[in-house]
């Protein structure tokens, strides 16, 4: 049920893909899962000179927007966080629930990088 509410709120505003481990807060309120390569740590090297996406030329690069927008936020430094690999088991689940339970912060044992 809560997944449906979350999707209803976040899909129209952010283009939410329901990855279940939301990082919008640290990416300038720009969903990185909108990036065709689903990059969560910054733009790839293929961004076009006009700031548009390598894969979808009609779309502005998600990360060009994320960098711009995050600079207007009081917590701008969080853009530089290193975000761990996506846990594909969480796809389709509610990130609100996963945030509450701490499930979205679980990383593989071998993941050693501090954000």
């Amino acid at each position: 049920m809560i997944e449906l509410v979350e999707a209803a709120v976040k899909k129209p505003i952010f283009g939410c893909h329901m990855c279940g481990q939301c990082v919008l807060h640290s990416t300038g309120l720009t969903c990185p899962m909108e990036c065709p390569k689903t990059l969560r740590n910054g733009p790839c090297g293929g961004v076009r000179p006009d700031g548009h996406c390598e894969v979808k030329p009609e779309m502005r690069c998600v990360w060009v927007k994320a960098v711009e927008r995050s600079r207007r936020l009081p917590w701008a430094h969080e853009l530089h966080d290193i975000r761990p690999p996506v846990d594909n088991q969480l796809e389709g689940t509610s990130s609100w629930v996963n945030l509450y339970t701490g499930r979205d912060k679980q990383t593989p044992k071998g993941w050693h990088v501090e954000a």
């Binding site: 065709p36 390569k37 733009p43 700031g51 071998g110």
Partner: protein, 309 residues
Amino acid sequence: MSRLEDALAAGRFAVTAELLTVDAGGLDAVQERFAPYADYVDATNATDNTSAHAHASPLAVAIALKQLGMEPVMQLTCRDRNRIALEAEIAGAALHGIENICCLTGDDVTAGDEPEARRVFDLDSIQLLALGVAMANGTYLSGRKIDPAPHLFLGAVENAGAPPFDYRVDRALKKVRAGARFLQLQVGFRPEQTEAFMREAVDKGLAAECALIPSICLVRSPGALRFIDANVPGIEVPVAIIERCERAADPEAECFEVACELAEHARSLPGVAGLHLISFRREAGIARLCQRLGIPTRETRADSRPVAV
């Protein structure tokens, strides 16, 4: 310690090259590609399905290079493999004594000749670097042990010539935090962009923490420059450069001049640790470019340390 790691650790100017892609022809095909510049380079990159076109795999080519006495840098992209396959490639490389691994996101499948393929991108390049560090520390991502832990010299690529320009050094710093010890910069035809990137890299301490290696591209014709501009993601060739080469009495020689000028400029920038040379069927040009810039052969560089070329 790999030859490249050794050169960079000793503060010697490093030269790397990019092996032309291989599809067939056995070890001879690999040998003939690097033979013209073998004396000048510390290592040669085995590319990973460049521009999303399938070729012999980077691991296979890296093993071939090693068998032929050339030190490989194995490129590894996130486009075609999930994390399990990436781990298998790194473990496989380490098994063969391949230490230099360059971690890239990878051009999208739509840049290639099989755009209908599924893109993977299970990890991004920063996560791949961190995975490499985990393996060098003796575990897979799951925490399962690798014993003995392989020695790896991990690097990545950064593109100073793609937006958002004012975020590229910060992104490179993220790569260093994730584990990059060298960064081969994407080919750029705008020296002012390389210069701005390097200035910020020195100011923010990036150049002190990681070996920065700008790339220079050698082509035979203005047509090749137009092709790169139109088809290679993330590389823009200014019209002025293309037209200058087209107007020249000897367009091929003019293309070489452009590469020499860009190389000379990049080498002069504070913080630059070496050059990465990419030729499109112009392998002899790499040796000529080194001679022209007064870069001695690898052995001479190693004998006369520290060398400031």
